[in-house]
């Protein structure tokens, strides 16, 4: 599973990264977590607001921090799908 946090480095973006990192560890999933800070690359996902979360190429959320429940449900669903 490939997880990306998009954001140029504002407070909320760092928070989202930590949140995702923690959630992955807690759930014991195997995933590569990357932080995308280059604006050209961020724009490639078509998001208008940061932070944004991308799981396996799909934008899950943008412009807000998801709840822990939302996050773990996305992660587990994506992990089960392969």
């Amino acid at each position: 599973m490939e997880v990306k946090v998009l954001g140029p480095g504002c407070t909320k973006c760092k928070k989202l990264y930590e949140q995702v990192d923690q959630s992955i560890k807690q759930l014991g999933l195997s995933a590569t977590l990357a932080k995308v800070e280059k604006i050209e690359e961020i724009m490639g996902y078509g998001v208008l607001a940061t932070p944004a979360l991308v799981i396996n190429g799909e934008v899950k959320v943008s412009g807000r921090l998801p709840s822990a429940a939302e996050l773990s449900s996305w992660l587990t669903t994506a992990a089960m799908a392969g």
Binding site: C10, I42, M43, L48, A49, V61, P66
Partner: protein, 360 residues
């Protein structure tokens, strides 16, 4: 230079619920909250009098009594109003995602587009750290440059927290003035920038960016249950962050109310000093504060006899034009365009300042 300035904004966090149907106890809870709000709000004035003069046994008509009564009445009143409005705005914002706003603005003619963009700027969730992706996302999908600017100007400058505080502390007239003039500046400044045809002063790479055609938005709240949570989280986020500023402002206000002689500031920031408006704007630009932080200053200045137009200009310059935002936008705009942007908006603020000093 890759550091991004911190931004004093709140992109809300909102959990989305599993089931759509609100539970019975949730409905009951909401109704009880509304009833409690109304009861407390209605009885605040009586309570403040009773508390000040009966419980604390302060002398009627004394300076200290007047100050305490002001504080005990105003602080909860403004916080109650703030909670209600932030909640309401939170719910409204759950309807206006940036993606939806872009769709509404894409391909719009100017003028109509500028008006619409300024209005949408007030209700679309926006934070200055997202200014760059938003700017690129707008201009590469057919939103005219001037219309994009109308949005970018109105989004930070017309702020619901400032609106509530102005309403609560100075009445509806001042609040309406702020809302009306803020929108007018955003519309006219954006339209002017559009007329100047400055597309060439946008960094060249911006128009070449390949923005994902699908337009990833993720999941936006769709059910009423989600929207109410969105509103509640906005309250937690925004009111939780700004209440100390609000209380501090009211404490200052209470002090002024009871003690400081009126017309203290009149000679420096009064109507007669013509240079006070440009000085207020020049002072305001490098200062960076959120709306809640600036209101205590506004209150102190107005209370000491500063002219309304001058103070309004100062406030708009602080929250509408900020250096950190300029640094963030430098990634996508050439310096010349940033200068035009600040120049046009600054000029608009000046006009507003003089206008109000003239008519009020």
């Amino acid at each position: 230079m890759t550091t991004t300035p911190e931004c004093a904004c709140s992109c809300g966090s909102s959990p989305s619920g599993k089931s759509d149907k609100p539970k019975f106890h949730e409905v009951l809870g909401s109704l009880a909250a509304v009833a409690a709000w109304w009861l407390v709000y209605r009885n605040l004035e009586t309570f403040a009098k009773w508390f000040t003069y009966r419980v604390l046994r302060m002398g009627q008509g004394s300076h200290l009594g007047a100050a305490v009564e002001f504080l005990v009445y105003e602080a909860p009143k403004v916080l109650l109003l703030l909670t209600l409005v932030v909640f309401g705005v939170g719910i409204v914002r759950s309807f206006f995602t940036p993606e939806r706003t872009r769709k509404l603005l894409a391909g719009r003619r100017e003028s109509v587009g500028n008006v619409l963009a300024a209005l949408l700027g007030t209700v679309t969730p926006f934070c200055s750290c997202s200014a760059v992706p938003l700017f690129i996302g707008f201009v590469t999908t057919g939103v005219p440059l001037g219309v994009t600017f109308s949005f970018l100007i109105s989004a930070p400058m017309v702020n619901e927290v400032a609106l509530v505080l102005l309403f609560g502390l100075f009445g509806w007239k001042v609040a309406a003035l702020y809302l009306g003039t803020g929108l007018a500046i955003a519309m006219i400044a954006g339209w002017t920038i559009g007329r100047l045809h400055l597309e060439g002063w946008v960094e060249d790479w911006v128009y070449k960016v390949n923005t994902g055609a699908a337009g990833g938005a993720g999941e936006a709240p769709t059910t009423w249950r989600d929207r109410i949570r969105y509103g509640r989280d906005a309250v937690k986020d925004i009111v939780g962050k700004v209440w100390p500023y609000v209380v501090a402002g009211i404490v200052v206000g209470a002090g002024i109310h009871g003690y400081v002689p009126e017309n203290f500031m009149a000679s420096i920031m009064g109507k007669s000093a013509w240079w006070s408006v440009p000085v207020a704007v020049l002072l305001g630009v490098p200062m960076y504060s959120n709306a809640a932080g600036i209101i205590p200053i506004v209150q102190a200045l107005l209370g000491k006899g500063a002219a309304l137009g001058t103070v309004l200009a100062f406030m708009m310059a602080v929250i509408g034009l900020s250096l950190p935002e300029a640094i963030i936008l430098r990634k996508v705009l050439k310096l010349k365009l940033i200068a035009v942007f600040f120049g046009v908006v600054g000029f608009g603020i000046l006009v507003v300042g003089y206008l109000f000093n003239l008519v009020m």
